[in-house]
Symmetry: C2
Subunit: 192 residues, 2 copies
DNA sequence: CTAGATTGTCTAGCGGTGCTAGTCTTCGGA
DNA sequence: TCCGAAGACTAGCACCGCTAGACAATCTAG
């Protein structure tokens, strides 16, 4: 049985090598640079080996996205428990800025991951739950809608920040303004 | 002079034919389907003709994006003048939903259009001015930041709506919730 | 210990992509 | 009328995702 297991272990390691390499390649040169040939070259195997582990190139990006969602969920949970809504917002934008390629795989590239409500990979639902928990204190009835508003607003900032479509000097101010307005605590408590 | 003009006119018509066809193709089959061969085939010319009018394939998408920005600006101006912030928000999302490929060319695909503040094609600045004007009544000092917050929030909703990452039943509710919170006119503080 | 089946891996190749060099043809101006 | 410019095309390069088919290594069974 150790034989069988040995093979499975090697196989799993190869899979992770591919994933890790793809992620690094994407993060350093963009997803366009992650081609079957280049990726195969980087892991020192031939292209067909990739297809023994993943259905196609897209499935590799999807797998990276899934990793990212789990990471992001942990980051968001921690931030929310520590510093509430404002901390969560900044943590989200920080993560997107720090891992642009992973972020792109998660939420920008077309993906086969199911987001609706059918059987989302649990990780997805769990990430979204952080948003619901974060807005709960300030949401009226229907926290889910407000959570969607928050998430999409952050997502918009993350993507437009990245593509240089917003003033790079005001990323913090935008995040703060969003949180203030959404939570209803803005005009600045008068002044002190 | 009519001779020279004749050529120029024909050239301009060809350019517009390419642009129109590319837009239709993108809108019906997605930008991935807009390849030099297919596009050339559709306009009944050979591929090199495309390069006589545009530097490369990306420049064609950029040109479509520029058209879209002008359209969108007009739509936003009209909505804002008629129904203020709320109308502008819904008009934005409606435009994005009605012309997904053009929207993608404008704000999702990597583009060579300069968004910063250097010499944005005027159309860009003019579109953004609609957001500033819309939030001005409810913004404190710094309407520009709030305008960026509004725009990115709408952009986030537009893109996540499109990729089925938000509940399709609640697009209106999300837009309304965003506008309410940003303008500060929501559940009514406290409860009555 | 050997025979056969399974698994791993590779080379080679298909059709498609963006883009360009080189050639020919058509047309406007002197 | 002749010539140069502009228009258009065929052919081709290097790359892409992906797969078929051959070969080598390994495990399983007798």
């Amino acid at each position: 049985m150790p034989t069988q297991s040995r093979r499975e272990r090697a196989r799993e390691e190869r899979r992770e090598l591919i994933l890790r390499t793809a992620r690094e390649l994407a993060e350093s040169d963009g997803w366009d640079a992650v081609t079957t040939r280049r990726l195969a070259e980087a892991v020192d195997y031939s292209q067909p080996v990739l297809y023994g582990h993943f259905k196609n190139m897209n499935a590799i990006a999807d797998a990276v996205a899934l990793q990212g969602i789990e990471e992001l969920t942990a980051v968001l949970r921690d931030a929310r428990e520590t510093g509430g809504l404002r901390a969560l917002a900044h943590a989200y934008l920080d993560y997107a800025a720090a891992h642009p390629a992973v972020y792109e795989a998660m939420f920008v590239r077309p993906t086969a991951l199911s987001f609706g409500t059918p059987d989302s990979p649990a990780a997805l639902r769990s990430a979204f739950d952080q948003f619901i928990a974060a807005v709960d204190p300030v949401a009226g009835d229907d926290p889910e809608t407000l959570a969607e508003v928050l998430w999409s607003a952050l997502h918009g900032q993350a993507t437009l920040n990245r593509t240089s479509r917003l003033r790079p000097t005001h990323t913090q101010a935008r995040a703060d303004a969003l949180v203030s307005r959404l939570s209803g605590t803005y005009p600045a408590p008068a002044d002190e």
